[in-house]
Amino acid sequence: MSQRSEYHPQPDPPVASYAGSERRSQTALSQLARQFDYACTSAVDSLQIAAALESGGITDRIAHDEYGLPDVFALAEELYRRVPRRLKTQAGERRSSRRWQTLRELSHGPLFALPGLAYPAVAAAIGGQSLLVGLVFSTAVGWAWGLGVSWLGYRLIGRGFHEEAARLLLRLSLIGVLAAELGALLLSYLLGLPTHTVLLATGQMAYQMAASVLIMYRLEAWLLLSLLPSIAANGWYLILGSPAWGQSIALWGSTATLIILQLGAFIALWKTPRAKSFFATLSAGDFVGVLPVLGYGSLSATLVLLGNARYMFSSLDLSLSILPLVLSMGVLEWQIRRFRERSTLFLRETRWISEFVPKVWRALLQSLGVCLLAVSLISCVTVFGLYQLGMLSQEGTTMFAAHLLLAGAFFINFILLAQSRFGWMLGSFAGAVLLYLGAGFFLSPALSYLAATSLLMVAVTIAIGPNLGRVAHYR
């Protein structure tokens, strides 16, 4: 037989499960039972014991001569009849590793937000319009591309192809940065913008790709470390009131961050052992499968950017309204994992689907509640601060509410993504984008955005309803 077989390390030496006279018995059969204790106590039927006996050297002749039974099958039958099963219980999870994982996930929100500190210095250097175009373009491309690359990377990691995943990430990240650069060049040419726009778009894309790699390799600490020069330089620049002479220091801080970050991502990929032989690990089906993911990334980026780009250089309350959502992205990730863990636990604890369904609904509402609470809390603090400064407008409040709904929709979308419900996801985001564009003729931009995110939230809630209790989704 030349199929490969699974290797499971041998269990600890068995503790005999026999009691009383059986334990003390010195008959040949009892001794054999003790010798093959693990097989006898865990076998699903007598044939499994027969297989274990044969692999341990017991033949028909031995069964006959030493145990007085016709063959190994009869001997196994006798052992199966005599020895009781000893069923194992599943081992529990380690809590300490989960705490670290939670911390890592929670850090993602601030890590996504921190690069924003560099924008004032960049805007001062290259101009507001260039910054806007460069950021919107690279964020849209980076969002969709990053999502697609991560999806393919995790697919490979899921199949155990770590080396191939590293190679793929490296290649696709480089292709993504190059594509963003070319796109930005074209855009700058068409809009007549300075070449700085291209530099900004390329740098932003490179940041997104490198950050994705570091997060995938669980190297958030490196990501934070690389952000330090930018945080220090730009923070200092902002505290001092953005003086002209501090601009180049702030820009150099951001550049240093970008360089350290690229280095970190490159080291992470380089350290992954290279596959000894190259063979295909992705098929055409995977590349077709990634298309809806790219579509989802593009549509979600479009909705967010359409709603927010116009406010980037307007009043502070409007430009800050997205901050609670960005800072809470880690909470969303954390709660998605918690939802999955709870669902898995319910599957292990429940015997009936009718018990499972209400439990999983409760888990969903609980996790969604935590996400909305996190966004609400940050929003309340920000709104209160703005109100105290007299900088809160009605439009600003509307935008904060819209982003709260968007957070809920993103959370549910993560679940729909895991269930591959791409049709609903694409449809609901496309509908929201269209509503935003259409409502803009009748309503203010903020109200249009609130209407669009409300529609999105309703659509994804409808989508999740009938399928949440489908057990097969929790494989």
Partner: protein, 515 residues
Amino acid sequence: MAAYSLLNTRTTPMKIALVTEGTYPYYTGGVSVWCHQLIQGMPEHEFQVVAVSVNGLERSIWTPPANLTGVTNLPLWGYEPPARKRGGGPPPAWFDQIHLTFLRTLIRPTAMLNQRPLGIYNSFLNSLHAMFRYAQEADLAEALLSNRSLERLMDLWHSAEMDEGFESPTAKPKPILTLSDALTVSDLLEHLLRPLSRRALEVDLVHAAMSGLCTLVGMAAKWSYGTPFVLSEHGIYLRERYLSYLNDPSSYAVKMLLLNFFRLLTSTSYQVADIIAPHSRYNRRWELHNGARATQLRTMYNGVDPAEFLPAEGEAEAPTIVFMGRIDPLKDLHTLIRAFALVQGSVPEARLRLFGPVPPGNEVYYQSCLDLISQLGLENSVRFEGRVAHPAEAYQAGHVVVLSSISEGFPYTMIEAMACGRATVSTNVGGVAEGVGEAGMVVPPRDFQAIARACVQLLQDPELRERLGTAARERVLQKFTLEQSIEAYRQAYEEAIAGPADTEELAPVETGLST
């Protein structure tokens, strides 16, 4: 040899589908060698290989013979099978009924397996057939993983019908089936049954290279076109599943249902096959025990080309023990390494050279071997040599060739080493004792002391080595040549085409040592 004299009388070209799982043409190993030899050895027939594989991305590592017209990859994992919708909605009531029957036999297989002959009472076969029909026009995966199907499994398990099977005074506690277990089992079964979603092959004959999932392809062709079906068994697929699941961390209920599935599938395939070809007489015991009829059985031994494996000339300087084969738990290299540690006590200058690849997925086992070597302080005397260009080079590199497996069919390693005139030490598993006869040393499996004693004896006694080596080559020339093996299969194909056999085994009988 009388039986072979009847052979080679008809050479009507046929189109044959050779069905493999996890072997040819993507991996090395005994079954792959055999498949390649079989195709090459019958140039008059056209072969199509159907390879049950992991994810469909595997690449062939064998140069295809001229009469191999194509390879169909049939992945169980990685990609969803094409969904064939029945117009939406839940599966029809008749599917619910066949699924219920399927699960009932899965939970309590003995009620069906104890009937002899299985015949029309084989409810597992009937439900498989019905599922094949369903899968041809609808999405079987969707149906098997629906909440209704999962609930059916849970209901059946927790019904009184199931519980009573565990109410013997010694059976405690009862195994629990959680919803998670039911999902795991249903998901795995959905993957294992994916061959049923493919169109049946239109060929003259289907030949499954082993039992298990390969046989689904043969059954589908039989149900659809009445295609003759030959089933080979190199090792015992079911026995290896049992061993593999012994230390599996899955819950008891999951292991039980999956192993019941394999057991039922094996018995059912024996019922459907026209000819079953065990590759040793030892295999017959398991086949007969699981429902094969003696009239179906034709023992076929593997064979080697004596011109390819010439007698080794001379020996290496340092006393060397050679292992040749995949680095795999079934080869029980831990026992071999422990045995070698004892050998070094008596023959300090001894070396152990392990030739063979580490198949993808076996890296953990390979590492465990390296750890053991390090733990025993054998780093300077044990070496993993990796894949070798030709196996004969490996045999020629050693004084003694050891096979330490805990499960085997009729291993090529053994007869190749014998053909090279090398003395062998082998564990008494599968058809090993039949193959070695009196021309080598056979010891109990997992007994590192016995392996060590035999190795020391051979390493210290050049005359014994030479005598056994000469006898071994002679034995191969007489009984286990490639030509004999191919001719026996040629006859089996003709028999299968001709119709159901009702005579006892015709193939030459070689009992060797009794098991």
